[in-house]
């Protein structure tokens, strides 16, 4: 990384109000509790009938822009990372940008790389800010994650969004000190064009995909920077369930204390592009100036990023300018499988 750095000026999240308990899914599809207990997830957040990635991303972005304390017109790039776009062709980024008053003099596009698309957008924005191409950029990770009904993935595929305003180092609440990306062609999980649900390799999604890429990206970062696990206050990983992020963290040398604050999946399931990033938002909601954060999102297909992020004095004043992740976590109402099926349109309906 060059001498000019970029940082996070604003962060925001969004979690829908509805929660579907694991027991409800198990009841319908005949799963034994032992078959899903190992996922370490209690219930998952699901978007309501009038929500989609665009509406969730809008709210997370509104929170982020409020914290960044910039005028929407000052944002000159909007990257929308998702694998559940309402339009396969027609950018979600422009809808959110228009609704928030960012258009028209802005870059905008939707990115895809399973769960790490938004993270790639974040890395791209740091480069664009550092080079002076733009002053501020907005990245949004938002998903209404899909799963084939009756597949084990259904337990964890959840809905949520996270957003960040990236800008110059000066005034940032957290500085992105350095970052690395590690990708290979590894088909652990995919969704074919036109298909409503993904397929995955079950066990193959573990070692060859999740663990290999995260560990490689983090090790690459450690090599570049000379940093070690003990240099970090928090370590946040992509969280497909409640177990994987703890295992990969401990394998890399982090303690449970460093890992627990960045965990959201046990409470709301895997929000895909908003998985690690929502953990990051949650940590920023309470991190202190001087704290160093390791952030390692992962996306199937496959690849991982690793960031070293340093929290600054500016973080405290920005915290209460928007609802915190805890506030969204606390805002919940239990629903049943029928509501979920109607809401996520997995029931065939003649429109």
């Amino acid at each position: 990384m060059g001498s000019v750095r970029a940082g996070v000026h604003g962060w925001g999240a969004y979690i829908p109000i509805y929660r579907l308990p694991m027991a409800e899914i198990a009841r319908i599809w005949g799963w034994h509790p032992e078959q899903y207990r190992g996922l370490a997830v209690d219930e998952k957040a699901i978007a309501g009938p009038d929500e989609d990635s665009v509406t969730m991303g809008y709210e997370a972005a509104r929170n982020a822009i409020a914290r960044a304390q910039v005028r929407p017109r000052e944002i000159e790039a909007v990257f929308f990372g998702t694998e559940s776009k309402p339009y396969a062709v027609k950018p979600s980024a422009t809808i959110v940008a228009e609704a928030l008053g960012i258009t028209p003099t802005t870059m905008a596009s939707d990115l895809e790389f399973a769960c790490r698309a938004a993270s790639e957008g974040m890395r791209a924005l740091t480069g664009m800010v550092s080079s002076g191409l733009i002053k501020y950029g907005l990245v949004i990770g938002s998903d209404t994650a899909q799963a084939n009904p009756g597949d084990v993935l259904e337990f964890t595929a959840a809905s949520g969004a996270a957003a960040f305003v990236i800008g110059p180092e000066k005034g940032a609440a957290a500085i992105i000190e350095d970052s690395a990306t590690f990708v290979t062609d590894t088909p652990d999980f995919w969704r074919r064009s036109g298909e409503p649900y993904p397929l995955h390799g079950e066990g193959f999604t573990g070692e060859p995909a999740y663990f290999y890429h995260i560990e490689s990206a983090v090790k690459a970062l450690f090599e570049r920077t000379g940093l070690r696990p003990s240099d970090f206050k928090y370590a946040i990983f992509h969280q497909p369930n409640g177990k994987f992020p703890v295992k990969v963290g401990q394998d890399l040398g982090f303690t449970l204390d460093q890992l627990k604050e960045g965990l959201v999946t046990p409470m709301i399931g895997n929000t895909y592009n908003a998985s690690a990033l929502m953990g990051f938002a949650k940590v920023l909601d309470k991190a202190k100036p001087g704290d160093r954060i390791l952030l390692a999102p992962f996306g199937s297909g496959a690849g991982s990023d690793a960031y070293s992020i340093l929290v600054t004095d500016a973080v405290e004043a920005k915290r209460l300018l928007a609802p915190t992740v805890e506030q969204y976590l606390a805002r919940k109402v239990k629903v049943d499988y029928g509501f979920y099926a109607k809401s996520r349109e997995i029931i065939y309906v003649i429109k």
Partner: protein, 141 residues
């Protein structure tokens, strides 16, 4: 290829509906939404755009069961009359898990949601709906 929802009709209205952009009359000072060509109160043509606050108080509401075509998935549909200070608006309400929480005077905030979807292949109309406030900040353009 039959379209039920018009493209340009929504497109030219998007500033109004995405941002609650109203009109203020420079003659009498009153604000109205959506913007008309002349002040509906005093008749003056001297209008200027003004963005409404995204927070206000619930004045009246209803729960609709006789929902129109294409909106069954949202039923029952909650509708509210909200006082935003500068003027009042009527929109659908959302995130109403418990309808007994809807009472005159409660704080409401605007969020972006789907309102109408043209079947499987057509356009999606995104609008601002109000929900019981949780403190989402207003970001004015």
């Amino acid at each position: 290829m039959s379209m039920e929802l018009s493209i340009p009709r929504f497109w030219r209205f998007k500033h109004s509906i995405y941002r609650l952009q109203a009109a203020r009359c420079r003659s009498c000072g009153r604000v109205h939404y959506p913007p008309k060509n002349a002040c509906p109160y005093c008749g003056s043509r001297d209008l200027e755009p003004v963005e409404l606050p995204k927070r206000g108080k619930l004045v009246s509401h209803t729960t609709v069961y006789a929902v129109p075509d294409g909106s069954r998935q949202y039923s029952p549909i909650y509708v509210g009359l909200i006082d935003l200070g500068l003027t009042k608006v009527v929109t659908e309400l959302t995130d109403i898990a418990d309808p007994s929480q809807l009472r005159k005077g409660i704080e409401m905030e605007a969020v972006l949601r789907k309102a109408r979807v043209d079947r499987d292949a057509g356009l999606i109309y995104y609008v601002l709906k109000f929900r019981p406030a949780m403190g989402v900040p207003d970001v004015q353009a």
